[in-house]
Amino acid sequence: MRLYIDRRVFFGFMTSLFILLLLGYLSYRNNQRFVEQRHWVYHTTEVLDHIERTNTNVVRLEELLGMYVISGDTSYLKLYNNELQQGVEHYRKLFELTADNSRQQAIIDSIRLAGRKKLTIHRAIVNARKQSQATSDSLIQTADNRRSFDRLMQLLAHLQQAENMLLENRLQVSESISRNFQITFLILMATIIALLTTVFVIINRNFRARMRAEARTNQLNQELEAFTYSVSHDLRSPLRSIRGFTEVLRDEYGNQLDDEGRRLLGIVMRNASQMGQLIDDLLDFSRIGRKELMPTRINVQVLVSEIIHDVTENGQAARVTWDVKPLEDMHGDSNMIKQVWINLLSNAVKYSHKASSPRVEVGCREEQGHVVYYVRDNGVGFDMQYQDKLFKVFQRLHGKEFEGTGVGLALVHRIITRHRGKIWAESTPNEGAVFYFYTQL
């Protein structure tokens, strides 16, 4: 695909697209990180929760032991055991949850040791109570017992503090992820907006330039056509005099000239006639550009047979064999299309009249949604290497052996172009030529 838009516009679009994709990716990644971070925050709160529970456990255990020692009621022992189980559970959980954090794990290990020590003391107290209350009482009061309790509480507080710091840390990270993303997002958005605005301005400017160029082209075309018309028109007047008076000369003084004189006069007259034809063709050519197209349905079959009839009547196509296939109707300006067919058919006749049995075939076929008409002759043909010149004004591919001004095909080409169609030709020298065309009105 050819690139018709400004390079900068293309670059701007591509960059914007890239930035959008980048933005998409960053959004996605940010979301992942955010979710991950939240998970860790949640994780931390879970740990804190367990620490809190463990704390409660330790205190409760101490209380229950005290109750048991005082009352001797074994139901307190049951409660104690329950509480102990819960405590162990919480401990296990803490151990699990802090698997990633070696420092926390160290503290937890200390808690374990302290806990074990505490339990040993407690067991001793329980056993003592089974014997005598006084003994257990005094054991509870020992500094050792109190110290081990304090130690546990201290360790738990330590753990909690560390975990709180971790929580705060993680919250901050979460916030900074969010903030960074917002900043990046805003920057990229601003960049895109700037890019698109620039691109828009460029596109607008390009369009304006294009419209100006179009207007200028139209104006130039109009001027050119007006010029062509007036020149052709003004040329006709002296030409009329030339032709008229050379004819008068021939009629009234021809017998006073010798053969050579008459031959020379003939040359002058022939050229004047040629010039007249040229001017007429040029006038037609310029008129086609100026005239408004009046599209209508055209019965091509009837049109072609009319033209063939006229051409044959004029004696030009006496020896031509016509092969006219069924022709579909078409849409176009009837005068202009008539001109196209007249030119193509008379060309076919003209360039094949030297053949021993001139033959012209006319038909149409469907090709890629278009109705393509063709005119084929078996005449002198043309050299395909000059096919670019075929439809140009004043470009002829044959010499004086075939009459012509070099405007006919240019005219046809112009009409077809105005009908948004295409015309082209194929040929082999001395084996004839085919002209194809279609319109899209």
């Binding site: 028109h233 006709r236 007047s237 002296p238 030409l239 009329r240 005099s241 032709r243 008229g244 008076f245 004819e247 008068v248 006639s273 007249g276 001017i279 007429d280």
Partner: protein, 139 residues
């Protein structure tokens, strides 16, 4: 009245005028032809004549310096006495605009000068024949 002008040819191009006169001569229609090559002079001439001396036919060219054909046509057709004189526009202009304007002003015929001389001769000859011999003028 042998100096009665039958055809008044108003044409500034002497060569075109000569060819027209030759064509009429060939058909023997140019015996009483007057050619005026200056449009201003032609107008003066026309408005000097008394009704008895009006030409039977005026051949008028469109594009002339000073006063052009359209203006002469307008003057003629707006004059109550002179509007009955048949005026044939004999010009090289094929412009729709010129044709419409001429008819609007009441021209009797509009002929585009053919480039090919023989056709030109035929056209002028036919014209002369029609207006002088075939057509019934007003008295």
């Amino acid at each position: 009245m042998d100096n009665q002008v039958e055809i008044l040819l108003i044409e500034d191009n002497p060569d075109d005028a000569e060819l027209t006169i030759r064509a009429l001569k060939k058909r023997n229609l140019a015996n009483r032809l007057l050619h005026i090559g200056d449009s201003e002079e032609a107008v003066n001439y026309l408005f000097e004549q008394s009704p008895a001396n009006y030409p039977k036919l005026i051949l008028l060219d469109l594009k002339m310096p000073k006063i052009d054909g359209i203006q002469i046509l307008k003057k003629l057709k707006s004059d109550p006495a002179r509007r009955i004189i048949p005026v044939v526009m004999l010009t090289s202009s094929k412009e729709e605009r010129d044709i419409v304007e001429s008819y609007n002003l009441g021209v009797n015929a509009y002929i585009v000068k053919p480039v090919q001389f023989d056709k030109f001769m035929d056209a002028v000859g036919d014209l002369g024949f029609f207006w002088l011999l075939l057509n019934q003028p007003a008295k």
